[in-house]
């Protein structure tokens, strides 16, 4: 019997309308755990670098993490994996809510989609009954609206739905896949649109088995209380005081990632914001099996009821220099269209900047309004319909800049590997952050940072106390933290280790499906994140029956990290691509930065071009990767071997 997982994948070929239920290899679970890890292996095996994102041969994989559907509190993440048109590289994005658990109960760990439907369809998974259904009547429907329509049509109010909006249908590069209170972003939506798959609806009523039930449940019952009581986990914008609205407004950049307004916040604004919130907020809701009510239900006049998720809480208003009411209004629309709350605001602000600079003219933007907010709404329509200049903007800042030309490239100043980044413009270079931005496969800092605190504690006594309570940290980090004085740079050794730990925890979460707000993203806010490298192995073992300890779990995360790196390397990613936006920090130190990068590559077991060496790959059991690299001339036979 399989535990925690169902042991089955659903293979859907949209070109041929073929549906297959395929048993998965239990060894794959032992080696890559699940979720992102097992999906990356499938992508490596079946989507060679010659396959383009919009080819029918590209795969779109929905994976419920290994612990999803077990009683482990907050294990509810589904990860979507594909090759994205954003930069022709590996992309995954994780979403919470209720989709993953429902999929497991329907009897599947993954949905693997290939091909392209002749016209718009949706997938209806009702336990063993699977249908590819016509969705032409849903064309252009909003992502929230679609959920209601599909549930009604199927007469199944309990169906969980993941769907694209108009943006996804029109292959806008920063289109999302929406699931009411959660969404998958970073460029996976356009692939779903390209496959002409409007939505997936799932309903499942089967048992999911647990390897060591009584013991696991005993721990989980305690975790409900612990997580509920822990004030330093859950959606950062909702739960973490010093990471609140004020902090974001004063520290993040406004406009097209241009300007910090350090004293923006005052009592009057605080009051106004509170009033805006009161007007529209209806209640807080949670994801499956988690006691944190992270999502605000928003009732904005004229919009469908929608869920405010952390990241888009401020991004549109800051990009447009608008107020909070504007943000609530536009998010009600962008969630229907299905747009990434990081990228979309920056693309819109970029468009406004190009107009102000005279690069885009009234000819490109007939009837362009004068107010910033109105301009955002105007551009939004152009983009989701891919109309006129919107067709270029729909490809994201990087490609749009090059398509538009006339100096527009100069305004593309906040992308890494062609993807818009969190709008941070800071003073002094921070080396761990430099490394995370430059080298992270996720290409979004929030998916890489999170276990090691962002700031030193000035008071030595407090620092000692922090370290005393810090069960989540391996010993070396306690030492680094104790030695860390404010405004001092960590040593090279400390910096590379910090980056490694931060990203390792994300690789764990994204394989097992635990919410990062309870784990990999939340360690930085205090010494007691609910989940960490020392308590996760036991939970995974009890649920799945796998034999794990912290070292073995770390090793799996490392393997998955290298495998995903390998996919990107096979698609051409090299050291030259590994740099943060030039103006991310005012004070840079190019020489030290390169030293850091050298050290990091070495620490990771990669050569100086950022390619995992044969020794590293073989040591992780990824010899099929090293063989392929040698065959393709990416590595030489003796690369990385001791000289």
């Amino acid at each position: 019997m399989r535990y925690a997982e169902t042991g089955f994948h659903l293979e859907i070929d949209l070109s041929r309308g073929n549906i297959e239920r395929v048993a998965s290899d239990p060894r794959s679970t032992e080696i890559y755990l699940g979720g992102q890890g097992t999906a990356a292996k499938i992508l490596w095996d079946r989507v060679p670098p010659e396959v383009e994102p919009f080819s029918p041969d590209n795969l779109l994989i929905f994976s419920a993490g290994l612990l999803v559907g077990t009683p482990v509190v907050g294990a509810n993440r589904t990860v979507v994996t594909t090759i994205s048109p954003r930069n022709d590289l590996y992309k995954d994005s994780v979403f919470g809510g209720f989709f993953g658990p429902e999929l497991k109960h329907a009897g599947y760990d993954k949905i693997i989609i290939r091909g392209k439907a002749p016209d718009l369809v949706y997938l209806w998974i009702n336990n063993d009954k699977i249908e590819i259904r016509d969705a032409t009547h849903l064309r252009g429907k909003g992502a929230i609206e679609t959920v209601a329509l599909i549930r009604e049509e199927l007469k199944e109010p309990k169906a969980q739905v993941a769907t694209i909006g108009l943006a996804g249908e029109n292959r806008v590069y920063f289109a999302t896949i929406e699931h009411l209170n959660a969404s998958a972003s970073r460029g996976v939506g356009p692939v779903m649109g390209d496959k002409r798959l409007k939505a997936i609806a799932v309903r499942g009523t089967k048992d999911l088995n647990i390897a060591h039930p009584a013991e696991l449940f005993e721990i989980c019952s305690r975790m409900y209380q612990e997580i509920y009581d822990n004030p330093r986990c859950g959606d950062a914008l909702k739960y973490i005081d010093e990471y609140s609205l004020e902090w974001h407004l004063n520290n993040f950049a406004w406009g097209n990632a241009r300007e910090r307004r350090k004293d923006f916040w005052n009592d009057e604004i605080a009051k106004k914001y509170e009033e805006s919130e009161k007007r529209v907020r209806v209640r807080g809701t949670a994801c499956y099996n988690c006691p944190k009510d992270c999502h605000h239900v928003i009732a904005y006049p004229g919009r469908s009821l929608y869920f405010q998720k952390c990241y888009s809480e401020l991004t549109y208003m800051m990009a447009a220099y608008e107020d909070r009411d504007f943000n609530y209004n536009i998010v009600g629309l962008t969630q229907e269209y299905g747009l990434d709350g990081y990228s979309a605001p920056q693309v819109l602000a970029f468009g406004v900047e190009l107009y102000n600079a005279g690069i885009l003219t009234d000819q490109d933007l007939p009837g362009f309004p004068s107010g910033n907010g109105e301009r955002f709404f105007y551009l939004l329509e152009k983009i989701v319909h891919r109309e006129g200049i919107g067709d270029a903007l729909a490809n994201g800042v990087y490609y749009a800049a090059r398509q538009i030309g006339k100096g527009a490239e100069e305004f593309d100043h906040n992308t890494i590997k062609k993807i818009e980044q969190v709008p941070l413009k800071l003073g002094m270079i921070n080396y761990p952050y430099f490394l995370m931005h430059a080298t992270g496969e996720k290409m979004n800092i929030t998916q890489i940072e999170g276990s090691y605190p962002q700031a030193a504690i000035p008071d030595r006594k407090e620092r000692e106390e922090y370290v005393r309570q810090w069960d989540a940290a391996p010993e070396r980090f306690k030492k680094y933290f104790l030695e860390w004085e404010p405004r001092e740079h960590p040593s090279i050794e400390a910096a590379v280790n910090i980056v490694d730990w931060n990203e390792t925890m994300h690789y764990v979460d994204d394989a097992v499906g635990i919410c990062a707000f309870l784990s990999s993203f939340t360690g930085q806010w205090g010494p007691k994140p609910p989940y960490h490298i020392y308590n996760l192995p036991k939970l995974i073992s009890l649920a799945s029956g796998l034999d794990l300890d912290p070292d073995k779990l770390w090793e799996i995360a490392k393997r998955n990290r290298n495998l995903i790196r390998a996919i990107n390397v096979s698609r051409g990613l090299r050291r030259v691509d590994e740099k943060p936006p030039a103006d991310h920090w005012k004070k840079r130190n190019p020489e030290m930065e390169q030293k850091m990068l050298d050290a990091y590559y070495e620490f990771k077991g990669w050569n100086q071009d950022g390619i995992p060496t044969k020794k590293t790959l073989d040591g992780l059991g990824l010899d099929y990767v090293s063989k392929e690299f040698i065959k393709r001339g990416i590595l030489k036979e003796n690369d990385g071997a001791p000289s």
Binding site: G69, T70, P71, V73, F98, P101, H105, I144, V147, A148, P157, K158, L180, N181, G204, T205, K206, D207, L208, N209, I210, P213, A214, L216, F217, S221, Y224, Q225, Y228, V282, R283, G284, T285, A286, C287, Y288, N289, C290, P291, D293, V297, A299, S304, L305, F307
Partner: protein
Amino acid sequence: MNGDSKKKIVKEIKIDIDKCIGCRACEVACSAFHANPKYSSINPARSRIRVVMDELNNEYVPILAGDYTPAECPGRHTFLINGKQYSECSFCRASCPSRDLFKEPDSGLPLKCDMCESDPPLPEPMCVQVCRTDALTYVEREEEVKEEEVSEDEVEIGLDALIDKYGLQKIEETFARMSLAKKG
């Protein structure tokens, strides 16, 4: 004892729908507890508490499975509460033919909340234990009751449903045949 009044503990789960955050931990815990062996599998579809959820209407109503009923209601009421419409079904505890709530997913047999009967007794029913927002709270109070009540057990509820579905005769026949076969 007949006709005497006696004291009885009345167990009650109070539901505050305004506090419900729609996490469905109650469903997870209930289905785990009632699995055989205990906790060995999870399946909200087997839970005896269900959160009737319509996210687009901001509706989150935890309902405990009540009695089985062979027929659906002839008509349905709509409730207007705080300016919001709820169908009567949102609050109905019945395991009824018009929905798949409170039925075993494989057999279709009705499920009923047993307040987590257990030996030794639980301090609180499972769903209440995991509901950290206090949308569910547990109260016990003593009440005078006239007669000893005959409580239907699960087998009886199940048989009742089967009789409704197939008719008494068919069930009797099947039962007789199975008894013979089992006895060899």
